[in-house]
């Protein structure tokens, strides 16, 4: 099997019954696998709530390692909309040409850097650096701050032997507390200062609320962006003709970004807590139990996508839900799309080919399903155009 091939482990369960079941720390999860069911449930916030105990909608559950509510992610309408409309314009800044110019420089520099080297490990030496440097733009803080985050390593919240590492998570939380205090003493043009100066429903945000927004900003865009970037490199390594096509037909770049994001689905699923006895696919789901919205499975639903297991670079109709769906769709999607768009343009311009030398897959286990989500490490050689 090609290194850039990401199989669909959900096919049989999706077709035969529409759901899967898994245990998560004695708080079981019913995984919804069909695109229509996932969309409908994502939309129905009254029955499938996000505003549960902080950490509970995440799978694996983070109830035991955090109390801070992530905002606006773990809040339901109508309050969700109040928070969301506060932060949305900030997270749309990547549409601004000046922002794109800076992002373009960051990505050009890192591609130039790796073209100079004999071999590089993509996850830690390319994707992590790119994600961290790009995040300084999203927060509107000095570029140098990215060095701190790069030093944290790929997983701030996970260690090698545990998907839930409270000690590691506290590094991030303590860091955010410090940054909030610094912004109080010395307000600037950064996201912390913007939040400190803001009101929702006539009340200033508390430090705890600001921390909730910032944790979400750090956590939501870390491994997701790292996986999207790393996996795309593996795809182009095995499909150099796609790089040439993007060079010749820059107008398909937007479609290519959406297609890579559909195919790789960087976040496998996200949970909700059920607020009343209900059914999905004729399967009974009890009040106060959990479901998950499996974006990765929905994106391969053969009832919706033709040739779902192939990367069709210029796929014209592509109703994927890699960025979620409805109220809670990904706040960072605009930033992520810009990163991917500029990355594709830069690779097409500067890179002739990429050789994969060594790769170790990152396989997630969710009950009966084993899903490849990315790479633990992948060593490559970039060859200049």
């Amino acid at each position: 099997m090609k290194k850039s091939e990401f199989p669909d482990p959900f096919k049989e369960a999706r077709e035969s019954k529409g759901f899967g079941e898994m245990d998560d720390q004695n708080d079981p999860v019913t995984m919804l696998l069909r695109l229509k069911d996932v969309r409908k449930s994502a939309h129905n916030w009254k029955t499938f709530q996000s505003g549960a105990t902080p950490g509970r909608i995440v799978v694996p559950s983070e109830v035991n390692i955090r109390d801070t509510r992530q905002i606006p992610f773990e809040v339901d309408p109508p309050l969700h909309g109040d928070y969301r409309s506060l932060v949305e314009p900030w997270f749309k800044r990547p549409l601004d040409p000046a922002y794109q110019g800076k992002l373009c420089k960051i990505i050009n520099d890192i591609v130039d850097e790796v073209l100079e080297k004999d071999t590089i490990e993509v996850v830690s030496e390319f994707s992590l650096k790119l994600q961290s440097r790009a995040l300084t733009l999203l927060l509107n803080i000095p570029y140098e701050e990215s060095e701190t985050w790069i030093n944290w390593g790929t997983h701030v919240f996970r260690s090698d032997d545990s998907a839930l590492d409270g000690d590691k998570a506290s590094i991030l939380y303590d860091y955010i507390d410090d940054q909030i205090e610094k912004a109080i003493e010395n307000p600037g043009e950064d996201l912390y200062s913007m939040l400190l100066a803001s009101e929702v429903n006539g009340k200033k945000l508390t430090k705890e609320e600001i921390k909730g927004v910032m944790i979400l900003t750090f956590a939501g865009g870390r491994d997701t962006v790292i996986n999207a970037v790393t996996n795309s490199i593996s795809y182009f390594a095995e499909h150099p003709e796609s790089l040439r096509r993007l060079q010749a037909e820059p107008e398909i770049r937007g479609k290519a970004v959406e297609e890579l994001i559909r195919y790789f689905a960087p976040l496998t699923h996200m949970g909700r807590v059920v607020t009343e006895d209900t059914t999905v696919c004729e399967h009974a789901i009890k009040n106060d139990s959990r479901i998950s919205l499996c974006w990765a499975s929905a994106n391969r639903d053969e009832k919706v996508f033709e040739n779902p297991n192939e990367v069709v670079l210029d796929r014209k109709i592509n109703p994927h839900i890699s960025f979620g769906f409805s109220h809670h769709n990904c706040l960072g999607a605009t930033h992520a799309r810009q990163i991917m768009n500029i990355l594709l343009a830069t690779l097409a311009e500067k890179v002739k080919s990429i050789d994969i030398l060594e790769a170790e897959e990152n396989i997630e286990e969710w009950g009966e399903f084993r899903r490849k989500v990315g790479f633990e490490q992948i060593k490559v050689k970039f060859n200049a155009n």
Binding site: K36, K40, G254, K255, V304, I317, N318, F323, N329, R337
Partner: protein, 102 residues
């Protein structure tokens, strides 16, 4: 050339002319408020939702099944809802009026 009018939720009327591309691209190029086109036109975000003026609906025709599924769960949907990214600009659209849903 087709002349197309967008009416925003703040009742601003914007009339533009074009002969190619999607209606979404046209709206984004002219900064029509409420048309974001986040996904670039692949029918995955519904941020280009409009209500076609009923008397012009024949010009654009029915949505495809995938587009209908997408619209079904969007706020403020009507019998005249369409996604701009799924409508190609052509002479057939001349004179059409679109009310921005957001």
């Amino acid at each position: 050339m087709a002349k197309i009018t967008f009416i925003t939720s703040e009742n601003e009327s914007i009339t533009v002319e074009s002969n190619s591309g999607s209606v979404m691209e046209l709206a984004v190029q002219h900064n029509v408020k409420g048309i974001d086109g986040d996904c670039g036109g692949v029918c995955s975000c519904a941020t280009c939702h409009v209500h076609v003026a009923p008397e012009h609906f024949e010009k654009v025709g029915e949505a495809s099944e995938i587009e209908k599924d997408m619209l079904e769960l969007d706020d403020n949907v009507s019998d005249y809802s369409r996604l701009c990214c799924q409508m190609e600009v052509s002479e057939a659209l001349d004179g059409a009026v679109f009310h921005v849903a957001k």
